[in-house]
Symmetry: C2
Subunit: 309 residues, 2 copies
């Protein structure tokens, strides 16, 4: 029995870690808040302490990490948009390699890890060509083509959040215009509804989905707009990459039919070529563990998911 | 010295064949009209007779074919949109295999062959991640990622002509709406200009480019619209696939600055992420021979460009 991977998922609001065995089973899953001190070393200390707690002396075969982008890859110097403490760039892979001598440490974009997790042990299992997406605070993704993770020239393949779905659409956080993320991310969806009079204590995308299911017209329109944008972006990606399935995860994607029905309608309206018509768009199977499972697969199934060094 | 490949390029208006050596040099390049009899066997006889003329008894290592899509791949049953004689499907690869016993016969989409040719011996040579495009009667392309041709699940990867660039845009020949091809193909560009009063004896995209260079306002606007659509489609593809270079060939792409300047402007407006900003969009280097060179590469460099059987 091969030892587990120590897997880590670093997001803007939470750090998560677990031991993940070669079957993709998650053990000792632990989370804590990312913390807001803004100090790079303090955040790193939190990460190492979380990893120590989860590992607890168990033998491991490596450390797999998913982290918000952008990053220099494969060197693993991260500068996540939503983690101010590391905004100037933090050499995460190098630092962790020093903590775990003799162990491979592999790191990729967190949305790429979700796509990998869903391909390895989730909704895309056994297929060769899969687009995995995360619709959450941002919109990201990863591509598995011919059974292998596509890294792209700089490790940034899979950025479906910056596919253009409305050329004269909203300004995007990236500086561009009309990107999928500028319409379909959680904050974009909720913000659009608030601007049109929707009120809710938290004003999150989750609240919005609840109100939509209860029949709120503005909430329904907001999710219809996001779903339509997702359908257009997915149609473009499928035409270009000829995948068999598109797996959509992340908090916003948990809205269910109020999002997926307009998504499907827009996808069908823009997808008429035979090879693309047979593609299904399905919800992710692994839920919030997908990123950890995918981070572990960078080690456990490195032949398919790790092409660097 | 390895023997040449007998290469064949089948389009709606012309058949082209040549011998292509392992360096990509093209010899005995011969063309003839595709012919309009509408008879499947008559067209096939023309193809075989052209191949016989070009081969002229020379030893070959295989036969490489580019053909208009769609097709069932890798079995190679073609049903090109613009070749009525084969509209119901013609088993081209199987038939040619019977004519050349003992020789591999490999076949791919004609735009994929252009992309392969430009990667193997053209503007993308030596790079790992390349999008090659053809902007002509249609808009097509092919993807080389990690140094290898991406086929996709059904051999249809690279269909950038059906990336959505204007969600409420024109109806597309594919049945969808606002596809890049519906705006930037030669007939679409010329048709848009004719609808706005542009007059020219042939009314081809080449005539349009000449008039644009001479300052005709409608011709300039038509190519600006097409260039902008291309820039948006390319921005989406680069975000998703993280290529290093985009190579644009085909007759429309020969328009030069009147097309490439608005293309570049739209690409820059929609491309702000660091990894994508450094991507260049360049004209193809091999001209009209790119498809034949790429078809030959399916054999000469099959380790990179041929993943089937």
């Amino acid at each position: 029995m091969t030892a587990p991977v120590l897997a880590l998922d670093i997001g803007g609001t939470k750090l998560a870690a677990a031991l993940v065995d070669p079957h993709g089973h998650v053990e000792r899953h632990t989370r804590r808040a990312t913390g807001g001190s803004g100090d790079a070393e303090a955040l790193y200390d939190d990460v190492v302490s979380l990893l120590d707690d989860v590992r607890d002396g168990v033998d491991i075969v490596g450390v797999g990490v998913g982290c918000g982008g952008p990053m220099r890859w494969p060197v693993g110097e991260v500068s996540p948009l939503n983690i101010p403490a590391w905004a100037d760039g933090f050499p995460l892979r190098e630092r962790l390699t020093a903590v775990y001598p003799g162990c491979p440490v592999r790191l990729h974009n967190d949305a790429v890890c979700v796509a990998v997790g869903e391909h390895w042990r989730g909704a895309g299992r056994g297929l060769s060509d899969v687009l995995g997406m995360v619709v959450s605070t941002g919109v990201g993704g990863g591509l598995v083509l011919g059974g292998r993770l596509v890294d792209g020239a700089t490790g940034n393949a899979g950025h479906i959040g910056h596919v253009v779905v409305e050329p004269d659409g909203p300004d995007c956080a990236c500086g561009g215009r009309g990107c999928l993320e500028s319409i379909a991310s959680g904050p974009a969806v909720a913000g659009w509804a608030v601007d049109r009079g929707w009120r809710s204590p938290g004003a999150t995308a989750q609240d919005l989905a609840e109100d939509a299911r209860a029949g709120d017209a503005v909430a329904l329109a907001a999710l219809a707009r996001a779903g339509s944008a997702l359908g257009i972006g997915i149609a473009s990606a499928v035409a270009l990459c000829d995948v068999e399935i598109v797996v959509v995860g992340g908090g916003v994607a948990q809205a269910g039919a109020v999002l997926f029905s307009p998504l499907e309608a827009a996808y069908r309206r823009h997808t008429k070529l035979g090879f693309a018509r047979s593609v299904s768009v399905v919800p992710a199977a692994l839920g919030q563990q997908a990123g950890l499972v995918g981070a572990a697969a960078l080690i456990h199934a490195g032949d398919r998911y790790w092409s660097a060094d």
